[in-house]
């Protein structure tokens, strides 16, 4: 067993952390959020073509660094520390993960664009009725000659307004909630028959409702693998948002400790009060456990599917609960100022809250774990 990072991995982390420290301060982030596009495309350009960081988890044959899940974890943690609103999860982790899993011509064609920063991907999997069951899909992909025709409505598609490609789950057969017949498609985001309603999300991203109306797509848009492939890339994404949450939990703790050293009430820094000290000690316990579970999940992504799913569900359930404690404690310890737009802490709290339910709540994942591991 070896839980240490390689020199290359340490270097990657340092490069990204330094870049974000220079470019992603709270005030700059606020301006990006308020801009019409909701982000600064120059940042993505810098992360990809200039610094080469988006190449980290890809194979050398595609121009990548040959990394994988650990590199994704490192990056997501650092992005979490500045509550970055970049489409990294969607493009590099999810889109990249799907392409690596299927390989072949489509991987050869699309991965270089991700590395270069020209290709951004959004993951259209959620549906209005679906909650967290990945097979609860009403969107249809009907075979039509050599291609397919998509019809349906995808909900809350993060990063869709910025995407060049959409990764879409749709049903080629079977009835709603049936595992068989669910497939994954990678399509041009500007295909005729796609319409979007764009909005900002409560945690600062841009997202869309995406509607497919007789949207004709080519046959090779289908990435073979069905629901098993979808579950795999969602498990990878789940662990990645846990890593993001891990970075956020650290910042929630750091910011709270710092604040309680400065803020004085009753003639002393409020950090001297035992009630608050214990609360912050609990935050540290949660942050440590979040980091531990994230690492465990990251290292267990390449085991047989049933074991992987059980492991990832334990990770996500623990991280969701930990983020709730960390976020609520940070706000409570700050007092009123923690609920305003003025301090960064509230914005970390908002993102932490959305991660709690992203790809499934603690309850959802405990249920999935129970179903996989406990006798009925």
């Amino acid at each position: 067993m070896d839980l240490s990072f390689t020199e290359t991995q340490d270097m990657l982390r340092d490069t990204l952390a330094r870049f974000l420290a220079d470019t992603y301060d709270f005030e700059t982030r606020k301006k990006m959020l308020a801009s019409p596009e909701g982000r600064d495309p120059g940042i993505w350009r810098a992360l990809s073509s200039e610094l080469g960081l988006t190449s980290a988890p890809f194979a050398e044959e595609h121009g990548g660094m040959g990394g994988g899940a650990i590199e994704n974890m490192i990056m997501m943690e650092e992005l979490g520390k500045v509550i970055a609103i970049e489409p990294w999860l969607q493009t590099v982790v999810i889109g990249g993960g799907a392409l690596k899993a299927v390989g072949g011509a489509v991987a050869d064609a699309v991965i270089p664009g991700i590395i270069a920063g020209d290709t951004t991907i959004a993951f259209a999997y959620a549906e209005p009725q679906g909650r967290y069951n990945l097979a609860d899909i009403g969107t249809t992909a009907k075979a039509d000659g050599a291609g397919y025709v998509l019809n349906g409505h995808k909900a809350s598609v993060y990063a869709a307004p910025w995407a060049t490609h959409l990764l879409v789950t749709a049903r080629t057969g079977g009835s709603r909630r049936e595992r068989a017949g669910v497939e994954l498609f990678l399509i041009d985001a500007n295909s005729p028959g796609i319409s979007r309603r764009d909005y900002a999300t409560v945690d600062g991203f841009r997202a869309s409702e995406v509607y497919f109306e007789n949207c004709a797509i080519p046959g090779d848009a289908l990435l073979p693998g069905g629901i098993d492939l979808i579950e795999r890339i969602v498990d990878e994404a789940t662990v990645a948002v846990c890593a993001e949450g891990s970075g956020i939990a650290r910042k929630l703790l750091e910011g709270t400790v710092e604040y309680t050293k400065q803020r004085k009430q009753f003639g002393q820094p409020i950090g001297k009060f035992q009630a608050l000290q214990h609360r912050m000690a609990d935050m540290l316990i949660e942050a440590e456990q979040i980091a531990s579970m994230t690492l465990m999940g990251t290292l267990r992504l390449n085991i047989p599917a049933a074991e992987r799913k059980a492991a990832v569900s334990l990770v996500k359930a623990k991280v969701s609960r930990g983020l709730k404690i960390a976020g609520q404690s940070a706000v409570q310890t700050h007092g009123g100022i923690g609920i305003t737009m003025e301090l960064a802490i509230g914005h970390y709290f908002k993102r932490a809250t959305m991660i709690e339910s992203q790809f499934g709540t603690a309850d959802y994942h405990l249920e999935r774990y129970e179903a996989l591991t406990l006798p009925a």
Binding site: S156, Y199, V202, E209, V331, Q332, E342, G346, F349, K350
Partner: protein, 397 residues
Amino acid sequence: MDLEFSPEDIAFRDEVRTFIAENYPAELRGKQDEGDELSKEDFLSWHKVLYKKGWVAPAWPVEYGGTGWTVTQRYIWSEETARADCIRLMPFGLTMVGPVIYTFGTPEQKAKFLPRILSGEDWWCQGYSEPGSGSDLASLRTRAVRDGDHYIVNGQKTWTTMAQHADWGFFLVRTNPDAKQQEGISFLLVDMKTPGIEVRPIITLGGEHEVNEVFLEDVRVPVENRVYEEDKGWTCAKFLLAHERVGIAGVAASKRGIERIRQIAANELDGEKPLLANPFFRRKVAELEMDLTALEYTELRTLAGEAAGKGPGAESSVLKIKGSEIQQRLTELTLEMAGHYGAPYFRSFGEGDNEHGIGPAWANRAAPTYFNTRKTTIYGGSNEIQRNIIAKMVLGL
């Protein structure tokens, strides 16, 4: 002792129900449930209906305009107004400064202010917290210096709810910087139109403008607007805080909140079954009802004690702690129900696409409300402070 309503109580309940059905302003219906922001006019429209009926201040003594209702009738009233989803009246005049004025004020102050609080003519705000004085309220530094028959007030208040609409504010100010902290504070009624007052908005996490900073620069306040003795304002402040804590429990509104969650979760699907059939979800609903019932009967016992002449004491901290926690859990459950539709931020929805709504309407404010409701364990004396009060005042530690 009897838990059942008497025939008189049932008749009263029916009267209240009919009155609300016939008189609650049509344009307000559903607004509270959808979490819509309420304008000053919204608040005042219901206020004025109740004023006309003589029901605007049930808790006040009859001589000042109260209803003379029994504890049971007041309980029925709050149940029925919450059940009908009536908006809550602004508390700053009716449940905060009003009782202070009729308890500690001069006959002139009572005559001048109480009728205008009842009629809704004056909108009040509360000038308590300061940037450096939150939980440690008694350390407040806003200074009032006597100048003939005026005080000259300088300083800054914060978290002043709805001050943007206020005609009057009640302010805690330091009149004697040399006395022990609590002993040099006075309670002033300030006309918000007085020169030298500036109100600046603070935007909270859900994007709301509810609270403000209030800056006071050489604000001249007539001495006759001081309530109670000079330097003894802390007595009024404590009295008001204890009263505030009782109302803060929000039992009836939380009951309505649970009812709403039951309705939504019975219709929202989780797979092929309603969300309410999900064992984890229904357990949380059941636990909330358990805790809310415990709170309800604790409040009823407190109110019965009050009716028997015991003022609300440190026990009201119990109500504040549990009431605020329950309010937060309600918003957690609502956000959980929203699922993927917790994410869209309703203030960013563009105009012009009426064909495609974004998620169910009830989900639109789930996340902003969850964020905003973190305030309940902070305001009115944070829950940490409430536990200190229990430890010190009740347990004698």
